[in-house]
Subunit: 455 residues, 3 copies
C-alpha cells in the first residue's frame, strides 16, 4: 500500500502521471470563480424567496404563508438532496479500496454540478426576457439536484477508472448536454417526465456508457484484485441503496403538480419499488448455486422500479399498474447484471463498474415507453411515436457528443490512473495506515521466525 | 468461510438442507403475482390522490392544495419509512457475520409486508361497501408501514435462526393476525393507540417470542462463536438505533389528528426518548465492572421511551409525564437485557436474538397501561378494564396462533440453517472473500516458513 | 486490548481512576429526576400543541389546521434532529478506537442537554410572567437542539480526553452559559442570528477550546497510536459529514420567519455549502504531495459555508453573495486544519481533537461579521460596532468562565483517562473481541512454528 501506486511509469511501460496537484485546484478555483461571476450576472431570488413575498401575497390573494411553494416542496427537496449525496455517494462505496473515491468524488462533482445546473437550466427554461435574469426558488434547487443525478449516474459507469479532474469535465459537459436534452424533450416536444425516467436515467446511463466505451482499458484486469467488495464495504453500499429506495417516492413527486399530482406520484413509486424487491430477490436466488443472494443485485436492481416509474408516476397508472412496472423492471434489471454487463464488456468493450446500464439506462428507457403507453391510453396517442423517435435521437446525440468528449478525455493531461491501479484510493487520497491488520499474535510469529533464522 | 457451511449433513448428523433456490423464488414470484391480482381487484386511489381531487376540493370548500392530506402527513410518512428500512434494518446488523441477513431480509419482508398490509388493513378498516374497493392515500401507506413493523419486531427474536422463506411465511401470517388484532382493538373496542404501543410493539414482540419458543434450538450454543458483534458491526447498528430514536416522534404522531394532536404527540415522544437515554446509561454503567457501558443497552433500551409513549402520545399527558414514562422504561428495558433475556433462555427455552422482549413487548405492554391510566384520569374510566382484559386476550390469541404456525414452520421444507451455522451470512448470501485479512507481512512469514521447511 | 488499559496507576506513575460506576449513574439519575421536577413546575404545552388549539384557531381566525406552526417547522426540526444525533455523532467517529465514545457520548449529552435547554431558554426567553410557566411547541424543540449543538461542538475539542461524567458537567455549564449569552445577543442587543453563526458556532468553538486549554495534557503523545483513523472509521465519519452538509439549509432556516424568510435562508445556505466543497478540495489537494486529498479536510472544511452563513442566511445577501461566503470559508477552514491546529497545539498548548477552531470558531466569527456587514449595507450601520464589541466580550466571558470551570474539571474525581489511554473505547465501553483479526492461515503458521520448535 505504499507509494509504488503513484509511480509515473508503471509495470507495463505505459506512462501515467496521476499527480493532480496543479490541475485539480486549478479546475476547482477557476470554475468556482466563474460560477460566482455568472451568478452575479444572472441569478436572483424568485418572488417566493424574495423579501417582496409580502406584496406578492397581497397581489395574488394568497391568505397564508403556508402557500409559499417552500412548504409544498421543501420536504421533498431534502429527500432528493439525501438521495444525491448519501444515496448515490454510498451506493458507490461497495469497492474494497475505493470508498473514499466513491463518496468523496460524488460529493465534489455534485457540489459543482448543482451550481452549473442552476445556470444551464435557468438559461434554457426560465430566463426572464425582460430583465435577463434567472429567478430561483425551491423548485429550481430540486431541478438542479435532478440535473446532477444524470452526471452521477455517468460516474457509476466510470467509477475507479478516471481522475477527479476528468470527472469535473464529465460533469461540466454532462450538465450542459442534460439541459439541452431536457429543453428538447420537455419544452419543445412537450413530453412529461416528472421523475426523469428518460431525461435523467436513460440520459445519464447512456452518457456514462458512451464515455466508458471511448475510455476502454484493455488491461483493466490488472486491477482485478481491487474490483470487488469486502463485507463492510457492502454494508456501506446498503446505506446508499436504502436511502435511494426510501426517498424515491419523493424524487418522482418532487416537481409534479401540487395536490393530487404529488400525492399519486408518491404512492405509485412506493408500490413499484416494493414490487421490484421481490422479483430481484427471486431472480438473484435462482441464478446462484444453492439459491444464495448476491449483494450486487440487492444493492441495485431493487431500485429499478423507481427508475421505471419516473415518467408515469403522476399519471393515473393505477396501483396495480405500478406493481406490474416494478415486477417487470426488477426482473429485467437483475438479468442485466447477470448477462448484459459481462456481454457488454466482452463484446462491446464497455466497462461499466456499477452496472448503470441495468439500473438506469434500460429501466429508464422502459420508463419512457411506459409513460408513452399510459399517456396514449389516455387518448393522447401521438405520444408514442414522439417518445420512440425521441429516445433514438437522444441516444444518438449522446453517443456522438460523447465520442467527441471521449476523444478529449484521452489526452494525457488528466491524471487518470494506470490500468494496474484503478479502483484504488491510494492514487488520489491520503489513506490511513491500517496497523490493526497485524494482530499481536503475528508479531510473536515474526519473533519466532527470527529466532529460527538465528539458529 | 468456505462451502463447508452449506453441507447437507452437518457435524452432528442432523440433516438440514439450506438450499432455497426453488422455494425462495417460488414464494417471491407467486406472492407478488397474487398481490398484483388482488390490487387489481380491490385497490384504488382515494379522493385526495385521484385526479378528481379538483372536484373534491370544490365540493368540500377546500381553498388550497396545501390542505391535501399529503402535506399534513408526507414528511412523517418518510420518517416512518426510514425507521422501517434503515432503522429496523441496521439495528439488526450488530452480529459480526449476519449483517447482510439483518438488513437484507428486513428489506425483503418489509417490501412484501407493506403490500399485504394495504390489502388486509383495507379489508378490515376501509372497504367501501358500495363499490367493494379499498381507497388508499398517504395515511394508508403509513399504516402499511406500521403493520410491517410488527413483523420486523418478530424477526428480531428470530434473527439468524430462520431462512428467508420462513420469514416470508412469518410475515404473511403476522400481517394477517395484526390486521385482525388491530380491528378488534381499534374498531370494536374503540381504544386509541396512535403510536401502536399495544397493537404494534406488544403484538410484534409476543408474536416473535411465541414463534421463537416453538422453534427452540437446544444446540444453538454450537453457533456461539458467531452470536456476537465486532467493533464496526456495532457501529452499523448505531445507525439503526439513531434513525429509530430521532424519527420516533414522527412514528407516534404520523396518524394522530391534524393540528395540536400531531404537534403534542411529537413533543411527548421527543421528551420520553431523551429521558430513556439517561436511565439506560445509568443502569448499563451500574451493571458492569468499572462502570463500562454495554453497546447492547445503548442500541436498544434507549428506544424504550418511544415504544411506551405510543398509546399515550397524543393525550394531554404533560411534558413531565412524558419524562417520567421515559425514565421508567429506560430502567425496565435495560434490566430486561441484564436479567430477563438470560432467564427466558434458560428457564423458558426462549431464544430472543435481539431481545425484543425488553425493547418491544414489555415497554409496549407498559405503554398500553399508561394509555389506559391517562385516559382514565380524563374520566374515561372504562378504558382500564378494557385495556387489561385486552392485553391478556391478545397475548393468548398470539400464543395459540403461533403454536399452530410454529408447528407448520418446523416442517423440514423451509431451508432453515442447522444449529451450528446459525447467525452466518454464508448460508444465504454470496459473501466476498476477505483477502485483506492476510496482510503482506504474513506472506513473508509463509515464505520464511517454507524456506525453513526446505532446510 | 485487555484490562491493562484500566490500570489505576499508569506507566508514568500518574494516578488515574477511570471507574465511573458510581459517578456516571449518580449524575444521570439525579439530573434526570431534577429535570422531571423542574418540568413539572415550569413546562406546559403552548397554545398550538395544547388541546385548546381548537378555540385558539377560532379566536385568531385561523381557517385550517395546516397553519399550526407544526406544519411550518416540523420537517426542518427533524432535519436538525438528524444533524445533532447522526451528524455530530458520526462526524466524531473518525478515530480508529473511539467510535463508540464519539457517537455514544454525543447521544448521552445531547439527550440531557435538550431537556436542560428547554428550561434555560424558557426562563430567559419565554417565561410567562402571569403564570410563571414556560410554554413549549415545535420551535422550542428546535431551539433546544440548537442549544445542544454548542455543547457538542465543545465536545469535538475534547474528544477522547475526558470522561462521560466530565462531559455531562461541560454540557450543564455549556447550556447555562449559552442561554445567558443568547439572551444578551438576541434579546438585549437585538441582533439577528437565526442560524447561530455567533451564538452557536463561535460560542461552542471557543467554549470547547477554553476547556481544552485548561485541561492541557503535556504527555498526550503517549496516546498517539490511537489518535488517527482507519479506512472504515473515515467512512463512518463521512455519514456524519454528509448529513450535516445536506441538512444545513434546514438548520439555518428552521426558526426564521414563515414564508420568504425560510425559503431564502435555505437557498443561501445550499449555495454557500456547495461553494465550500470546491475550495476545500482545491486547498486540500494543493497542500499534499502529489495532490492527494485529505479526509480530515473533506469531512470538516466542506461544512464551513453552512457555519458562516448562519447569521446572514435570511438576509437578502443574494445568491452570488452566498457563493462568495462559501468560497472564502472553505479556504479559511482548510488552511486552519493545515496550519492553525498544529500551531495552537505547539504554541498555545491547545489540543483540539476535531479541529473545532477551524470548523466552528473561526467560520462562526466570520459569519457574525458577514451578518453585520450585510445588515449595515441595508442601512442599519449600527450593527457593525455592536457585533464587533459583542464578539470580543463574548469570547472574554467564555474564556473567564471556562477557566473557572476548567479548574473544577481538574479535580481528580471525574474518572478521566490517563494520558496513555486517551482516544480508547476500552476505558468506558465493553468492546467486543475481534476474533476475525486472526485469519485461518495464521493458525496454520502457528502450527508450523510449533513443529519447528519441536524439531
Amino acid at each position: 500500500m505504499g507509494n509504488c501506486c503513484n509511480s509515473v511509469v508503471n509495470f507495463f511501460g505505459r506512462q501515467k502521471n496521476t499527480n493532480v496537484r496543479v490541475s485539480l485546484p486549478a479546475v476547482c478555483f477557476v470554475w468556482q470563480i466563474a460560477m460566482i461571476v455568472l451568478f452575479g450576472v444572472f441569478i436572483r431570488y424568485d418572488e417566493e424567496s424574495d423579501a417582496h413575498w409580502v406584496e406578492f401575497k397581497q397581489e395574488n390573494n394568497i391568505t397564508s404563508d403556508i402557500e409559499n411553494d417552500f412548504y409544498f416542496r421543501y420536504p421533498s427537496f431534502q429527500d432528493v438532496h439525501v438521495m444525491i449525496f448519501v444515496g448515490f455517494g454510498f451506493l458507490m462505496t461497495f469497492l474494497k479500496r475505493y470508498s473514499f473515491g466513491g463518496v468523496g468524488f460524488n460529493f465534489l462533482i455534485a457540489s459543482f454540478g448543482l451550481q452549473w445546473a442552476l445556470l444551464m437550466q435557468g438559461w434554457f427554461h426560465s430566463l426572464d426576457p425582460a430583465t435577463g435574469k434567472i429567478y430561483i426558488g425551491v423548485e429550481s434547487l430540486i431541478n438542479a439536484d435532478f440535473c446532477c443525478a444524470g452526471s452521477l449516474i455517468a460516474y457509476g459507469a466510470l467509477l475507479g477508472k478516471v481522475s477527479p479532474v476528468q470527472l469535473m469535465v464529465v460533469t461540466l459537459f454532462g450538465i450542459t448536454l442534460f439541459a439541452v436534452e431536457e429543453y428538447i424533450i420537455l419544452d419543445l416536444l412537450h413530453c412529461k417526465d416528472a421523475g426523469g425516467s428518460m431525461v435523467i436515467h436513460a440520459f445519464g446511463g447512456y452518457y456514462g456508457l458512451a464515455i466508458s466505451w471511448v475510455l476502454y482499458r484493455p488491461n483493466l484486469h490488472q486491477s482485478k484484485r481491487l474490483n470487488g467488495s469486502v463485507y463492510h464495504s457492502d454494508m456501506f453500499a446498503m446505506i446508499g441503496t436504502l436511502f435511494l429506495w426510501m426517498f424515491w417516492p419523493s424524487f418522482n413527486s418532487a416537481i409534479t403538480d401540487h395536490g393530487d399530482g404529488q400525492h399519486r406520484a408518491a404512492i405509485n413509486t412506493y408500490l413499484a419499488l416494493a414490487s421490484s424487491v421481490l422479483t430481484t430477490v427471486a431472480i438473484s436466488s435462482m441464478s446462484q448455486k444453492r439459491g444464495k443472494l448476491d449483494m450486487v443485485h440487492i444493492q441495485n436492481a431493487t431500485l429499478a422500479g423507481g427508475v421505471a416509474m419516473g415518467t408515469a408516476a403522476e399519471f393515473m397508472i393505477t396501483p396495480y399498474g405500478s406493481l406490474i412496472v416494478g415486477f417487470c423492471t426488477g426482473i429485467i434489471s437483475t438479468f442485466g447484471y447477470l448477462f448484459v454487463t459481462p456481454c457488454l464488456e466482452n463484446s462491446l468493450k464497455l466497462q461499466d463498474t456499477c452496472g448503470v446500464h441495468n439500473l438506469h439506462a434500460a429501466p429508464g428507457m422502459l420508463g419512457g415507453f411506459i409513460g408513452a403507453i399510459v399517456a396514449a391510453a389516455a387518448s393522447e396517442s401521438v405520444y408514442i411515436s414522439v417518445h420512440v423517435s425521441l429516445k433514438s435521437s437522444e441516444v444518438l446525440i449522446n453517443v456522438r457528443f460523447s465520442l467527441f468528449k471521449g476523444f478529449i478525455l484521452r489526452f494525457p493531461i488528466w491524471g487518470d490512473p494506470a490500468d494496474d491501479n484503478c479502483f484504488d484510493d491510494e492514487v488520489y487520497w491520503e489513506v490511513p495506515e491500517e496497523e490493526e491488520t497485524i494482530p499481536p499474535v503475528l508479531e510473536y510469529n515474526n519473533h519466532m521466525i527470527h529466532k529460527h533464522q538465528d539458529m
